[in-house]
Symmetry: D2
């Protein structure tokens, strides 16, 4: 907003303070500052610092509860207002992803409170006194009572290379309106790769990538890519110039061509999308989109639900029946943390005779993460 | 925003700050009055008068466009505000249905403009100059381009007898959180029938009702109903008192027992629900719920979409291939409007030898509605 | 089954047992011939001849009923067998589409009888005597009782250019497993366009095509296309050779590259897909796929459901409230068939002052199809 | 079929044995015996014995592979035939549940091989040599690659009390045709409770039950129930006799009234249903239905998928981020298995100050199951 004349500000404050009814304005300002404060914390700290933040958030929550006075109604109005401000902060703000993509919040229905509100209709009056909102919300997430999370809805505008969009669209529970290259000329932008960003085929994992090509080699690939894009573009333009129907002219556009879409779904299904696409095994491009959506938009809008999502879903670990039995055997033998030999001794019978066994590898990896393997 | 003369700004702020509360009040009042005006028109006129209303609505729309000045942005902000006010008017207002049921708007995402906004991403810049919002929206509805209607979302709280709810819940595209009689005591209310409201089994239509029983007979049925409800209630209460688990005690509750639920879905799917449940052949109880939802809540929130829904869906007529051929034959013979004999002569071959033929009856009924049968 | 003479039974068993293998062969052959006969009729006649076929089909149906003897059970077993044979005829048979695509039936659950079987559970015993299968099935389709059609399920294997697949996959109610170019090398085939198959951009319809380019011009475009495909292929191969991860190497594949997928959904949703994609306004490529699926596979598998689908859905006509009123006005004035002037006089008020009006054009087009406009 | 003359049978066998081409019959008999053998094992052993069975199954699998000779095609045909026989064994067989309910298989599309068949299209040729069917199928389940499991489809006919059906129908991904009490008279059967089957309200878990009422008290409740059912039935019958429409007469039927429905969905969604409804916290009635469906029908039809479902889903354990950290802390301190004090010392900070903490209880329960708590 730039610099503001000090005198004007003073005058401004004087006027406000002379008028009791102008407190509304102050109130909103306070909420904005407060929200910015919360958002800042959420933004600028990684996962490690989360615990501390949640305390801060908890304190803020508590203050709000105090401020809001006695009735629950008033408190919820406060939360609602806070959420509105947060939403207005975020709406239409384009978060850049890849070289020319973005995600941007268009609209949101509901907040953390809307989730518990819906849950309480199931659990009835009986449970109200037992649990406060955060506890209830965490209980719902932990026990996969997913329907209350469907009560919040989010709409985005996204710009994504078609290649990535082909994976994205496989999630069928969303509503979608995509830019149509039958009606309009294709968006004149294709995803580019910088010389140091060419990824090597993973050996261990047939579907993934692992490490990068030498930037010297990458340079040649990038040059080829640039030429090919120009080529593709001029082919498309040429067809259009000749009068070829747009629906046919587009048939040879590279998958790297950007498209845009409105994309809307409920929070439960969004969490499902994020859990699958923020995973390390997902393709890097879609991981970047999912991470931006999750951390930049969902997190500030639904701080409690997000926290629960991380604790019970994103960073959870699933132990199969076989893996539980391995741990139980090792524990019964007093061999935890176990040596490799002890682990091999206690492994599942069906793995024992296999030289290579993916399931065993996964089990070892999980046990290591919990310090159960030396 | 560019540079602004400081003096002008100061003057501007002073005026605003001195009168901010009055201005806000004026603004909101104006919008409220305006909205009420629009809503009133929509409410208190039947289908016949719709045409006139739409002119009025068109005028209002036009005034708004003038008021909002030049830029589209500002206009959409106006519409958004108007929608907010309308929503606030409607939120949590309980519209009574049946003897003890209700429907009530909890939240809404989007408005008429959100539908066309999403459509425009498909159709791209190219079509913007061609069509204004209403025309585009009607085009979408007419040609079953349904995805933009998914971009609006509505959430209700409803109170419904379980009998009716069993039909309701068959629509699978909604999100639902229902009052749980495992967690809480069942709602102490059952749908009652007044002596003059007992319906006779329809003869023509195996699944429907037709006319009413004699109120004298109805009196006896109503008395029996009252006794049975008391009976059922005391059975339930007795089990609970004995310590029977709520999940089991409820097993003999009558289907007439009321339940409550949050019910949320997108506008496309809501229209689908309304089209099926506002139909004369649907059961009277659910027709009342659907009609209340449609006319009291959806109509004022989405006036343009509602109008299109009525014109192209609710009051549309589908002619089968066979029926089109009948009309075409009659027209070719210059026999429109046709006599019964002419119709029988022109009927489909597959109907001719049947004494009773439901499909032929339906065809005659449709042609009559268009004055094509004398 | 009633009493049967023992001697006859013995004789019957003896004969059967002596020739069991030949009998089985004869039986299957008979069914095959019979089915082929039915299928042939369905295949080789266009829409015009449909009426006659249905008579033939009706006769065949009747013969089957005679052959099957008295009990309904036995008749259904016959139908089931017939359906099995038909399915075996069709399974894994690749119906070619475009230059290098195909559709192919993998599996099917249910048949016409499975649809009515499910419907009867709704309608209960009460309706059984009223309607035979065909009548019931047509009633269901006509009145949009769609759930019984969900009781049949079909699975295909398809090979489609990615461009076309992008439209296809927007139908969210199917289960899909697509060939993964993260795991495997991309299929080495791209959709080619012959010199006389380049379509012109439609003027009237922004999203369509209309007519063809001069084959001389087309020749040049086809040559360019061939070169571009080689180019694209060598770019891809080059990246793979350099060790670039498949998931990244694929990023510039043209949309014309073929992909393959298992695609499975229920009959109701398949009909919805076909209704939208067999429509003249859909893009030619997907129309070809939809038509092949519909006429070559669904039609022989579900002859009764397909007939009903054509009569009440594919070739049906929807009249809006406004259009019905236009017809009713013209009929009331005794002006049917109407002249253009009479039509313009009777048109909807909201169209009257518009010079160009798409909705009016659509109305005229519909009335013409029924001979209601001179 | 009644008694058969012994001589005829002898003759019958003679004829068969004289003809090489009758081997087909023998073959089928062999498969039937073999399948029965496998099924028997699966049926009559509990979870404990599963490991052994799988070996047996593995052996059978191996033999089949040998028998089927060299080509994969032939092997799959074998599996297909085996599956057909199994399906025919199960079709229309009513497995009783509760006092008057049942579940019964109507149709099935696909088998274990159909799941991997679809998966291979994703993974392409590249992976074929790596993994055999069982390994691939287990990998898919373990890593939640759920789409291949959607490629199998199952249809049931079920008879369920409406109370239980109300929970059941909340799973929205199935296709349903339910018995209609608008069209037909309500089924004359209500779920009865024997004197020793009245469950006590659970104290710890607001939504569950725990233990049983004294059978003496239960006797009185059962008598009341019987009277109430008679009452309800005569109320309904009386209304029908008076000519009340069925759709209205039914309004006071007790929730315990049985209904019937066709219920169809894909294997992935069925597994989701079973995982939620075979869980100990689900209501006993639906647990019985889910268990019957799972163990009596799904297990023999999809032995490999079922095994994977049990190992990686039904009997899996999810550790939250917090729980993993507790284990990791205890392991790092060399305190595994831990005493209660050590656990309390290592617990999550957010639990420490709470006297009662459900999440902590759950953590302790999980650690105990793996012998990690003394």
């Amino acid at each position: 907003m730039g610099r503001v004349n000090i005198d004007v500000l003073e005058f401004y404050y004087t006027i406000i303070l002379q008028n009791v009814d102008k407190l509304a304005f102050l109130l909103v300002s306070f909420v904005k500052i407060f929200v910015n404060f919360v958002v800042k914390i959420f933004y600028h700290k990684g996962h490690k610092g989360l615990h501390k933040e949640h305390k801060v958030y908890g304190v803020a929550w508590y203050i709000l509860k105090l401020v809001s006075g006695i009735t629950e109604k008033t408190f919820q109005e406060w939360i609602f207002m806070l959420n509105q401000v947060m939403m207005e902060e975020l709406r239409w703000k384009k978060f850049p992803v890849l070289d020319d993509g973005f995600v941007c919040l268009v609209d949101v229905m509901g907040n953390d409170a809307a989730i518990t509100q819906a849950a309480r209709v199931s659990y009835g009056e009986g449970t109200r006194h037992v649990s406060d909102d955060r506890t209830l919300l965490r209980y719902l997430m932990r026990h996969q009572h997913t329907t209350p999370f469907e009560m919040a809805e989010i709409k985005f505008l996204v710009r994504v290379p078609m290649d990535c969009w082909r994976q994205w669209i496989r999630h069928r529970t969303a509503s979608v309106n995509e830019y149509s290259t039958r009606y309009s000329l294709a968006i004149d932008s294709m995803q580019k790769t910088s010389p140091d960003a060419w990824r090597l085929q993973a050996v261990s994992n047939r579907q993934g990538s692992d490490g990068f090509l030498d930037p010297e080699v990458g340079r040649a690939l990038t040059d080829e890519e640039t030429m090919f894009h120009e080529n593709a573009r001029s082919l498309y333009a040429g067809r259009i110039d000749q009068g070829v129907a747009r629906e046919q002219a587009r048939k040879d556009l590279p998958l790297s061509t950007y498209t845009e879409a409105y994309w809307k779904m409920d929070l439960h299904n969004l969490f499902h999308f994020l859990a699958l696409r923020m995973e390390p095994n997902a393709q890097q491009e879609i991981v970047e989109y999912a991470t931006t959506i999750g951390r930049q938009i969902v997190r500030p809008l639904f701080p409690l639900a997000w926290e629960a999502f991380e604790d019970y879903c994103l960073f959870s670990m699933k132990l199969s029946r076989l893996e539980q039995e391995v741990v139980a055997r090792l524990a019964a033998r007093g061999q935890l943390p176990a040596t490799l030999e002890q682990f091999m001794e206690a492994q599942d019978e069906s793995w024992r005779n296999l030289e290579r066994c993916r399931e065993r590898d996964e089990c070892m990896e999980k046990l290591s993460r919990m310090n159960l393997l030396r």
